[in-house]
Subunit: 337 residues, 4 copies
């Protein structure tokens, strides 16, 4: 039995994580943290957990968490995360970090996009990026895995087979991305109020979204080419799901069926990737750990359509997938329901 | 031309009010206030007003507003409103107050339900309650009109014809009320986040909602009977609209058609009341100043179904309707689109 | 391994059922039927099943289903169901019927509310009503179980503890019910189009809904009193969930806490009932087999707030719960995720 | 007073059209048609019109409409429209056609994309395309105006200033378009059911949408260059609004502010175009006749963000705008509310 802790348990990702872990046969949740006063019952913070788990949200230090847990899922905001992670690791706890703090390899890039010097830069180069479909080298022994961003997972999984096979130019790739509102978190803000989002659709952070350099880094690393993308995120009036519509330039002519065959070969044996013939809708993968992808062409322009559930395959699901690999469990444990 | 000011211009009700006033041929908006720093353009606070009005949100005192305006619509929260209103009136400005501060006649009841002593109690007894369908006595001269609550308007307009004609018992009336989320305002709060409200339905403030005593007071006053209601509000995952499903006890047998005829007689000549034969949906009156009502019976139990747009007929629309009566304009000016 | 068939596999309930059965360790799905031409793959009818099950929708006779299956879940519309069920049973197949055809004990009541003579009336008196929280007598041997309606489950589970303990009057109980749109099925109709339902809320079938006599029959049977209810359904702009706000008359004074204690005693050991202190939201039980309930009082009027997921606990989930009991499996198998 | 008829009055566009026309001081609605049996009251087809207009939906021939009307708005589906229009014109009625039948200049292109030979091809070359912001030459005398498609209006208005000023390459322009569900019409279909669309986002008709050749034709005509676009439509879970995110290649470097200045110059004096500095949301222009547009750049890639209400500026609103020009009324009559 692995003793597991969750730091920062009040958000949507933490809630999904706890639901998944509750059905994991090898896991016992032994600590959940939050700064809320009075150590409220977790089920009062998340009423959907009523009757399912009897634990309190405590304002624990990383050291205290490390004493109680073998593995910690860190759901803290960036910056807070890199302040906690070294203490967790020093305390003997392995960590899956769901923040952005350990995703970028280069501390200067981190500073540029996150506006904050990295206080644990030494660990950046050696921390595996937790997208298991691209390889799980080092996961088994790693003290820390950097869980990927939701937009980034969608974009990377959609583009990796094309880049790896030289089917597309690595530069100027337009990624028109659309996400449900849960991706924006549970902290009350004007722009995520119901009456602001509902019956509305818009772009945001155009040219400034922090997932752009992450996509570029991971795809460049994975393919050995300098990949550069134009990433435009939009907010969709729904809770769950991301769809990326991606416009790369083909290096040569190839029918859709051949391209799909290349995807299928690339992802052979990957239990959560579904290369489909139909046009996928976010609803098809909502509440699951599946990633759905297909391609179409319009006058020779390739169009990749890719989607996943931002809170599951885009966050909590892939975190448990990483956890499973770290611990030598079957990769799908607790993830197919 | 009436010079008009809006106090507290950042909320949803103020936005609707401004849209209505922009099409009012007798109105010029001369002041809008907010506490936001830097006197932002109104159209930056409400992008839907881009290109429609060129005015800034200023942090004005009530006295300053009174200097610039003949009439002020006060969209401040309760308590803040009763602190501003006396100064507006003293400055020579007439006021339509959209807060709850002048709706209850009895300062003790106000204190009981709002948890705050009333600082302008002297004005409570003489301020007309602005539901013009129940009579507009004194509106023409009043320095101040108390604009009704959204749930209260729906409930009162639904019940008044029945009570006035002795068709129902005045006590134990169950009002099961449902509202869109815009009624909860534009201040960021956890319970009005998109991902909390969307795909969810629940009751709130059961037995504790402040519109309950308001409904009882107005209906008791209007009918001369002590009316008492059981009011249960619910939040619907939509922006606009209120529907009340009301279960009064009939004093005698009467077919639906006769009851509807009594409603039609009661509201004869009222341009915004639609007594309909079909079951009304909130969508039918959304974005309008109409109030829709019908009745059905089930085993002798009368069921009244009533709806309106909470921001228009339930707030900004009726405010302009009151303003029109105050100023001797046609009651429907700017309100039928 | 139990060989299971699903008749009428194209609807939303069938989809949920299949998802649950896919994680059931004792089940193999061996037949799914639909009248669609060309025996389409199930995953083309329900794209969310892509990669999860490799079976076709066939236009099979009940006899053919019975040859392939030990148990059939009948998701056909009413009337179609009672035409298929006898053949399934004759063929040696046990049946959980999700239609309304075997819920009412009295063929005359069936005819009155469904406008159709019952062609298999002989089976009505002996078919258990599948609400396991009220008892599972006879389930283990029954050839057929009548799965309850979604509104009815919510209402019955909310009221049974009160009636059984004599806490409320059995007559004149107002049930103000609200449901997500998935309850209306997957057949294209004007009133369930997105643009009709979205941003709208309304009542429907007032005084005419077929779940009213079902609620009354089951509660009367369960308590030995003639129970009569005023049932008013509403459509909420959301996919999933039912909330019933119920107004019974208390027979005596009793604080909320004592009433909740009676609920907890009544449902002791029932794994899917959560008697909660907070006001439940439909979202808390969405996508689960839980039923959430609490009570409040307003001036002595008891208000019961009860919710569940209409497609799971209100349909497919309770169907599998019944199936588990029929087969001697743990009641919760495949139902806690 | 212009006597106006609406052919095909049961859809969403017709409803919006009627609401606009009801506030038009120069219009009297004298005929509305539909094939529904029994000539139902228009307010029973559209309950939101209760108490607002007293007219029946009749199954009239175009000839009968022409006898009663000076101008007809034709809201019939394509094909049906080109069968009715010649008879309307022959009967002396001027027509604004909201279908796709007279938008394409070339009958062969029509046949290719609509799969149907054009039966009134002679009129294609001489019928003005009704996008008044691009010019209103000939509108004043035209017997027929072809009202543009909703996606096309958005795309064309977004691109015209760039193309006219040679700022972008005319080919390979990626238009990633997103629309609310009302654009799909009011005929019951599986893919527009509430439970299919809600909480889902997907692309559709990729590479096959009929607005693609329409955009190309109008922009090519307007600019004298052969314009070619890659158009990908998506369905957003909301009623109203279109947002197009457009990726053209700049011909040279130019800062955003200069580009916006060119837009402002291009649309000077156009009352419904708002060139904004902020990123527009569909909600800002919902229920209005405004078109909102801005630009951003990301690594030298220009991104145009443009939105409008698909039923108003994208259909019924621009139809009345065209009608106003045809009749010599102020272009904004009945359109600013």
């Amino acid at each position: 039995m692995v003793r597991v802790g969750i730091l920062g348990a009040t958000g949507y990702t933490a809630l999904e994580l706890i639901k998944i872990l509750l059905r994991h046969p090898q896991v016992k949740i032994t600590a959940v943290t939050s700064r809320q006063e009075g150590s409220p019952a977790l089920s009062s913070v998340h009423p959907s957990l009523s009757g399912r788990i009897d634990i309190r949200c405590e304002d624990l230090t990383p050291k205290q968490v490390a004493e109680r847990c073998d593995v910690a899922f860190c759901c803290l905001p960036h910056v807070a995360s890199m302040e906690a992670v070294p203490h967790l690791i020093d305390g003997g706890c392995r960590v899956v970090d769901l923040s952005a703090d350990y995703r970028l390899r280069d501390a200067a890039v981190y500073k540029e996009w996150y506006g904050h010097a990295h206080s644990d830069a030494g660990r950046l180069a050696t921390t595996p990026y937790g997208l298991p479909e691209l390889g799980t080298n080092g996961f088994r022994e790693a003290p820390l895995i950097a869980n990927p961003g939701c937009y980034t997972s969608t974009s990377i999984l959609a583009l990796a087979p094309l880049l790896a096979n030289g089917l597309i130019e690595p530069t100027g790739i337009v990624i028109d991305a659309k996400s449900g509102v849960s991706g924006a978190g549970r902290t009350p803000k004007l722009n995520t109020l119901y009456s602001e989002c509902n019956e509305s659709f818009s772009a945001y952070s155009v040219g400034k979204h922090r997932h752009q350099p992450e996509i570029e880094q991971v795809l460049s690393d994975a393919t050995g080419k300098r990949v550069d993308v134009i990433f435009t995120p939009h907010l969709v009036p729904m809770d769950r799901g991301i769809l990326c519509t991606i416009y790369p330039r083909l290096t040569g002519k190839k029918p859709d069926a051949e391209i799909l065959a290349i995807y299928r070969e690339f992802y052979r044996g990957k239990p959560f990737v579904r290369v489909v013939d139909h046009i996928p809708a976010t609803k098809d993968s909502a509440f699951t750990n599946y990633f759905d992808v297909t391609v179409r062409q319009n006058k020779g322009q390739l169009i990749v359509l890719a989607c996943l559930d931002n809170l599951i395959k885009g966050a909590a699901g892939v975190a448990v997938q990483n956890f499973n690999v770290m611990n030598g469990f079957d990769e799908t444990t607790a993830l197919i329901v």
